[in-house]
Subunit: 350 residues, 2 copies
Amino acid sequence: MGAPPRKSRATIIDIARLAGVSKSTVSLVLKNSTLVKAETRERVLGAMQALGYVYNRGAANLRLARSNIVGMVISDLMNPFFTELAVGIEEALYRAGYVPLLANTGEDPERQTRVLQSIFEQGVAGIVISPSNRSDVATLLDIARAGLPIVTVTRRLAESGLPYVGQDNTAGERIAVEHLIGLGHRRIGFLGGYATMATQRERVAGYKEALSAHGIVFEPILIAESPPTRSGGGAAVKTMIDLPDPPTAAVCFNDMVAVGAIRELSRQGIRAGRDFSIVGFDDIAEAAHNAPPLTTVTGETRQLGAEAAHVLLDLIAGAPAPSAPVIGPTRLIVRESSAAPASERTRLRA
Amino acid sequence: MGAPPRKSRATIIDIARLAGVSKSTVSLVLKNSTLVKAETRERVLGAMQALGYVYNRGAANLRLARSNIVGMVISDLMNPFFTELAVGIEEALYRAGYVPLLANTGEDPERQTRVLQSIFEQGVAGIVISPSNRSDVATLLDIARAGLPIVTVTRRLAESGLPYVGQDNTAGERIAVEHLIGLGHRRIGFLGGYATMATQRERVAGYKEALSAHGIVFEPILIAESPPTRSGGGAAVKTMIDLPDPPTAAVCFNDMVAVGAIRELSRQGIRAGRDFSIVGFDDIAEAAHNAPPLTTVTGETRQLGAEAAHVLLDLIAGAPAPSAPVIGPTRLIVRESSAAPASERTRLRA
DNA sequence: AGTGATCTTTGGAACGTTCTAACGAGCAGT
DNA sequence: ACTGCTCGTTAGAACGTTCCAAAGATCACT
């Protein structure tokens, strides 16, 4: 059973013809207007059923000059942090009746520019973007000036003046470092990321704040830059432990760096959480299941995505742009990759 | 600098007016027609520049009765396997000039039905879907019957007759088990997933094939079902080692189960790759960085996504549906979570 | 039967494109 | 001077909706 594939979709006019009414009436039925008589409504609904009618939102949008599609531009979907962010955004959009057009730029600014153009042409209602490194701000501003709501998330483009939703990276890293200091560490490294990334600079700032608040002098050599990946973390921690006077702990740019660092440590026979403390950032799903489970800072990633979506939806609804960046809270989750330094434990035992 | 935000976008007609030509001419310029005189083209391009014109693809699509948007419905984006699949699809679509409308159903069949409807209304050119568990096949078939190309990926809906792109789960699991048998294991468990999942059944089939090919009798008790998650893996391996006569190795429904199992083993003081062998499936990014690095089966996930996209694009271009399922290859990646059983090593040493 | 008032329905323009058919201008060949 | 071409341009219908303005029905009162 089942009708043969139709060549082209039935339209409101086909319905009207079959139900013996005008297309206007069909349109009214479509929007559940109380104006149409119950009996007529039935007839129209029956005709829709019979013809397998599907609403053509594209046509409606053209007429109404609006859209329920939103562009979602993600800088690196393969990074679990951004995956969760995307899921948070998608979920919130979906609840509000919007659907995201996805583009994964893979941190390629040129690709970002192209997809923005394409998304713009598509007639979306707005764009949420986690900008790639070295984003071309001009394109973004062109689009914003054309009147399209844009929200940046996760990476701040301060020069742009675009609405921004992010986490409190500085405060987050500060509590991470304070946790280590509280445990007795005095020599603490910072692993991963590059100073060209706004996020890294913010996290490093928190790191320095915590150090100076506890009278520990900042040593540039204790910052090891690397790609924000597992293997980057491995490399970074290696340079750290090879130092003449190595630290006893390190905070990491993100959880992937932390996981990579822990793995490299264990390869070197150093056990994270006993011989060396590691604290991550982001609380990706993997963190809780790592060996050892990772102490990390969470920015409530999914919530953050939802928040970004809501800011965009407000903008679309005509609200004025938020006057200040929206900064989400940050919270330390203590697991087993951090502990008192070995020297401390020895001293206590003695 | 920078014009004030425009209330509404300039149209082809505005351009025409400014350039002193008809909208038809502007349209020709837009499609790079050789018909228009170079000088006129310049004038039109200048006008576009001046007015900040953006092409309205929605309007064009209405007229042309086609679209360059494709629906991408993913059952669980938080699972790294599906993330990579989605990235593979997105990349291939993007190359072909298409953009994916994303929906993450989170394995909820009702949500899946709703988003399919919404995506359908949107007027997409086709749909790629990794169906959720217990999918409502009827909706999918309704849409397919309406003439919209649909490709299922990863999860086969055999009853549906829809085009399918997947991996060779059976062969993949077979080589995984044969690897363990080759190492000397005779008692091998299967961890994770549920028999209600087509994928699990296919993998279990491969598991049984390998056993019987080597004269090992299959024991139902060595299959431990669980959610296909890290914590599910932990639970599953626990029931396994608590058995009176526990196995010495296990293959897992997927890498997340495997990682969870390894973690639980280590909590029990059992070291994976020495005391107990574990083999995963999917080769998610985390696998190579796990402790110990995970022996696993890869289905070339990203490639698979690209393949699914291409099948869909062909369908959209009017090609007939592939007569048989498209099954991608599968390959074993040996890392450190699998080794000869302890008994074997002892015997060799003696 | 006439007058409103209230329901219900409808024609047609509009949204921003594409495309067909046709038109005018210029020119070569007679 | 006419014919036929080619070149460049264009008017207008069409795509599937929404919505305004207005028309027709129906009904309750006088």
